[in-house]
């Protein structure tokens, strides 16, 4: 395919049709499930449709920009995001015990959302002109770019977003060719730090979540309730599911808020193992296609950024489906393109926009 070939209209939009089809398939299925899981509330479906429209628009707009723009902006976006994070600490709105929002009068705004894009962008920018695999001093400098926002977000506290931001940086390091030896060392350090983290950093409700995850029956009316009900919903779906609009768990309110973080359970209840497998395959298709696009990028910046963005998308899908099926702890990450809800959807679509831009703006390699 010649990305820059002129068409009859003299202009050809930069986008990747196979990826677009995959994304449309997932979001379309999501809307169908949302109608049922949201208890046939049309307002919910319309609202989500509007958000998806906004997300796809942002994706298509970003895809038209040449990637060197993103590269030039990386550090600035990062610095602005960091300032906003500090602002949240000082003047942020407290909502449900966590300080995450910045009230701009018209909209309430979550600066940590910016960092989900800014951290991989800046990490890719930092390593793009360094020799790879990265050397020790670069490694330390680059890690700071991830660790500082990670700590600020974890302090809010927003464990889910901190996980995404931290992983996005780690993905860049891994894709940049971080040596296996160092990774082994880091794993060792991590194993030593986790007990300290548990004792001094984690909040009670976060510890409770992990404990409940290990033994949900422990607290069947409190935090464990979600997981138990979610497992019942999935398990009772069987191979073929109970059928669209026939799920009892979500419709009888046993599955609280079955249209946001736990929509995968509502989906699996109604569409069974068949539906669940199809959805997982769709996610795998989107991830594989995106990774393929990343390997075809023109330069190291594009490769690292595209790869990291893809793996964040994977992280969302895996953590959410793992949490809902009782494989992983309850971390508040939505199922991307599926769960009802706004901000993270827009961020994810912006990520795909950057990915498409990187892929479709390749210059033929000249050495």
């Amino acid at each position: 395919m010649e990305p820059n070939k002129r068409t009859l209209w003299g202009w050809r939009p930069h986008l990747d049709v196979p990826l677009l089809l995959g994304l449309l398939a997932i979001s379309g299925l999501g809307l169908v499930v949302l109608y049922s899981a949201g208890q046939r509330n049309l307002d919910l479906v319309l609202g989500q449709g509007m958000r998806l429209g906004l997300g796809f628009t942002i994706m298509l707009v970003l895809a038209q920009m040449p990637p060197h723009y993103f590269r030039a902006w990386s550090l600035w976006i990062y610095l602005v995001g960091l300032l906003l994070l500090l602002a949240v600490m000082v003047v942020g709105d407290v909502s449900k015990g966590a300080q995450r929002w910045l009230d701009l009068g018209v909209v309430r705004f979550q600066p940590s959302e910016i960092m989900k894009l800014a951290v991989p962008m800046t990490m890719a920018w930092f390593f793009a002109d360094k020799p790879l695999p990265p050397r020790w001093p670069h490694l330390l400098g680059g890690s700071l770019l991830t660790v500082i926002p990670f700590i600020l977000i974890a302090e809010q506290p927003d464990l889910g977003t901190a996980l995404v931001v931290g992983s996005s940086g780690a993905f860049v390091l891994f894709l940049a060719g971080l040596s296996w030896l160092i990774m082994g060392l880091l794993a060792g350090v991590l194993a030593a730090v986790i007990p300290l983290f548990w004792t001094f950093v984690m909040h009670d409700y976060q510890r409770q979540r992990v404990l409940t995850f290990l033994d949900p029956e422990n607290d069947p009316l409190g935090t464990g309730y979600h997981i138990i009900q979610s497992k019942i919903a999935i398990g009772s779906g069987g191979i073929y599911g109970k059928g669209w609009l026939n799920g009892t768990q979500s419709h009888l309110d046993f599955l609280p808020e079955g249209w946001t973080d736990f929509i995968f359970a509502a989906f699996s209840e109604e569409f069974g193992l068949v539906g669940g497998s199809v959805l997982l395959m769709l996610y795998f298709y989107v991830i594989a296609r995106s990774l393929h696009m990343a390997t075809r990028a023109a330069d190291t910046y594009g490769r690292l950024l595209a790869g990291s963005l893809t793996l964040i998308f994977f992280l969302y899908a895996f953590v959410n489906s793992g949490m809902v099926s009782g494989l992983l702890p309850v971390v508040g990450l939505p199922l991307p393109l599926f769960s009802y809800g706004g901000t993270s959807l827009v961020t994810i679509m912006a990520g795909f926009g950057i990915l498409m831009s990187i892929y479709s703006h390749r210059q033929p390699l000249t050495r």
């Binding site: 307002d43 046993f254 990774l291 490769r303």
Partner: protein, 645 residues
């Protein structure tokens, strides 16, 4: 691998970067990406495996669990506490009421059902509209309310053939009721439906299932006490989700009963005395800050607000020129006028600017040095030579112009701040205003010009920028009565556990006392206030009093006269008439009540406001009420909106 690269010479670095091998890096990336793709595959496979484990291997178990999944948590709403006055007269309770609900899932033809219901009970278009709006937002198997407050008659008519309409149900709930109607509404406030803004602020656990909350008055400020705590019950339901059996329950904790310091008999006297005026009367016990009566006219009936007042009635209340919804006692700000003169005198004594015997000659006007502008005295011919006692008794403006100038605005500001002027007194009712105590700094910030000497003169007689609420006036005069010992005003007397009926009295909240250089200064000022009633501007209310009163009249200008104009009440429109004010406490020897009266456009403080204060003090001190205490009103089913007195 050169670990020391960043510390190498710049030229070496550049060479290395130039040597970055794109092909090698691309190949490295490809390898790493393939590793990740493999990990992605494994992870998603793990989830798929988990699905197989749940949906195939354990399908039977979870199906059984799902079918027997009939345990749901339901909130149990607490009963809201009652409100009583200090004598136990019931002011607010809960009444069983009924509303009509429709579960759409069980209705075959909704339109037919609606028109059939319309033939039996009154259903307005607004009712149907609201029903359709709510129905769009709720699942079809839940009940959606169609009509509130069904009458006994309507219930009887519906009950006959309700069986013919599956899905139509009559539901019972508790509605807040204010048996005395408008009486005391500005203290009580009311509860109303929770709106969407409030919903976002409220604790979702505590308010789940709740529809109402306190909106104003005591209902608002003691919401937490009155409301109680929500309980929960585990209910077993059938396959459709309908409750069959209660498995376990954490009962709700009912709200506490609240006893107010208000005496409804005195409240009635105060409100009736004010009838015909817009204004406020605040009576409090200076010995502990208990509010005895807090009247604001006009009033309104809170009962229609409980289930949502209809739009037309609300517009009448809200747009009325007399603004009945405004609590004038707390939120009405007025120029305090001459009522502040005793405090001015006290400030003069405390700062040593004047003494009791220093005199001023009053020719009927005052001229600032080097100016031709005449600041006039209310008495055209002047008071002649006046000392402090006579200046207070006769309310001589010239004396206080002179005193204000000697004190200067900074010291006036400092002294009056101690009496809660310019800031809320902190009463336990929502929405209190702080009025305005002008200072140089305030004027610099809010006006084009800085502070003028003329501003000081106006402030010295409670005019100009000076604004105060009736509550602030009552509070300050109470502090004078107590020689500086001050309490935070409050309406809560006690709370009572509804089960055990154990009362917990609310202790008085003492403020830091106001200390003057010489404690006798208080007596000096009070002596002047006694003369106000005994031969001074309010001598008419002193006649025949069975106890001694110390007071001060006030007349607040609503508009400014031209330099040579003469105030002539008979020629002015009502809305331009002066506000009439009076503050007092009694008995002088052992003060038990402090009163502030404001009658908007009432004319003169001595002619209009002072007699109203006398009525309130007579009632309280001599037990002179129009009717016996209305304690039996709690048992009557319906009480007319304006009480029984």
């Amino acid at each position: 691998m050169n670990l020391w690269l960043p510390f190498a010479k710049k030229s070496v670095q550049e060479r290395l970067i130039r040597e970055k091998d794109n092909t090698a890096e691309s190949a490295l990336f490809f390898r790493r990406a393939m590793v990740m793709l493999f990990l992605v595959f494994l992870s998603l496979l793990a989830v798929a495996g988990r699905l197989v484990y749940l949906q195939v291997l354990n399908h039977e178990r979870f199906t059984t669990l799902s079918e027997s999944n009939r345990v749901r948590l339901q909130p149990l709403l607490p009963t809201r506490g009652f409100i009583f006055d200090r004598n136990g007269v019931l002011l607010a309770d809960n009444l069983a009421s009924y509303h009509l609900e429709i579960v759409r899932e069980q209705v075959q033809d909704l339109e037919a059902t609606l028109s059939a219901l319309r033939a039996r009970i009154a259903l307005s278009d607004a009712d149907v509209e609201r029903f359709r709006k709510l129905a769009r937002r709720s699942p079809p198997y839940t009940g959606v309310p169609l009509r509130f407050r069904l009458t006994d008659d309507e219930i009887a008519r519906l009950a006959i053939d309700l069986y013919r309409f599956p899905g139509v149900e009559i539901k019972a709930d508790l509605t807040r009721r204010y048996p005395l109607g408008a009486r005391g509404v500005h203290v009580l406030g009311y509860v109303g439906r929770i709106d969407e803004n409030e919903l976002r602020r409220l604790d979702p656990g505590q308010y789940s299932g709740s529809t109402h909350m306190g909106k104003t008055g005591v209902e608002r400020s003691y919401e937490d006490v009155l409301r109680g705590r929500t309980g929960w019950q585990q209910v077993e339901t059938n396959a459709e989700g309908r409750p069959i059996r209660v498995l376990s329950r954490t009962p709700p904790t009912p709200g506490q009963h609240v006893y107010l310091s208000i005496d409804m008999r005195l409240q009635a006297v105060a409100e009736k005395a004010l009838e015909g005026y817009n204004g406020a009367i605040v009576a409090l016990d200076p010995r502990n800050g208990e509010i005895l009566a807090l009247a604001s006219q006009p009033t309104y009936d809170p009962n229609p607000f409980v289930n949502g007042i209809d739009f037309a009635s609300y517009r009448v209340l809200n747009t009325s020129k007399d603004r009945p919804l405004l609590n004038r006692a707390l939120r009405g700000v007025y120029p305090p006028g001459s009522t502040i003169k005793p405090l001015m005198a006290l400030a003069g004594l405390d700062y040593g600017v004047v003494n009791r015997y220093s005199g001023v000659f009053c020719p009927g006007f005052y001229r600032l040095p080097g100016s031709n502008h005449r600041f006039r005295d209310w008495k055209r011919g002047g008071h002649g030579s006046v000392g402090m006692d006579r200046a207070i008794a006769q309310s001589c403006d010239v004396y206080f112009y002179d005193l204000a100038l000697r004190l200067g605005i900074d010291r006036i500001y400092e002294f009056f701040s101690r009496f809660s002027f310019g800031q809320p007194t902190g009463i336990d009712l929502p929405g209190e205003k702080g009025g305005l105590l002008p200072s140089q700094e305030w004027k610099r910030r809010n006006h084009k010009y800085g502070w003028f000497a003329g501003d000081t003169l106006s402030a010295g007689i409670g005019q100009g920028y000076f604004l105060a609420t009736p509550l602030q006036l009552a509070h300050s005069v109470g502090v004078i009565a107590q020689h500086g010992i001050a309490f935070k005003p409050r309406v809560l007397l006690a709370t009572e556990d509804p089960g055990t009926r154990v009362r917990t009295p609310e202790p008085p909240r003492a403020l830091s006392p106001i200390v003057t250089k010489n404690p006798r200064f208080w007596d000096t000022v009070i002596a002047g206030m006694i003369q106000v009633v005994e031969g001074g501007t309010a001598h008419r209310i002193g006649i025949g009093a069975k106890y001694r009163i110390a007071g001060k009249t006030g007349t607040a200008q609503v508009f400014t006269l031209g330099q040579n104009e003469k105030y002539n009440a008979s020629r002015l429109a009502r809305h331009l008439l002066d506000h009439a004010l009076f503050v007092a406490f009694a008995p002088v020897e052992e003060p038990r009540i402090a009163v502030a009266v404001i009658a908007e456009h009432g004319g003169g403080g001595s002619s209009t406001a002072a007699p109203l204060a006398r009525k309130v003090m007579d009632a309280w001190l001599l037990n002179k009420y129009d009717a016996p205490p209305a304690a039996e009103s709690s048992s009557t089913a319906s009480v007319p909106a304006h009480g029984t007195e």
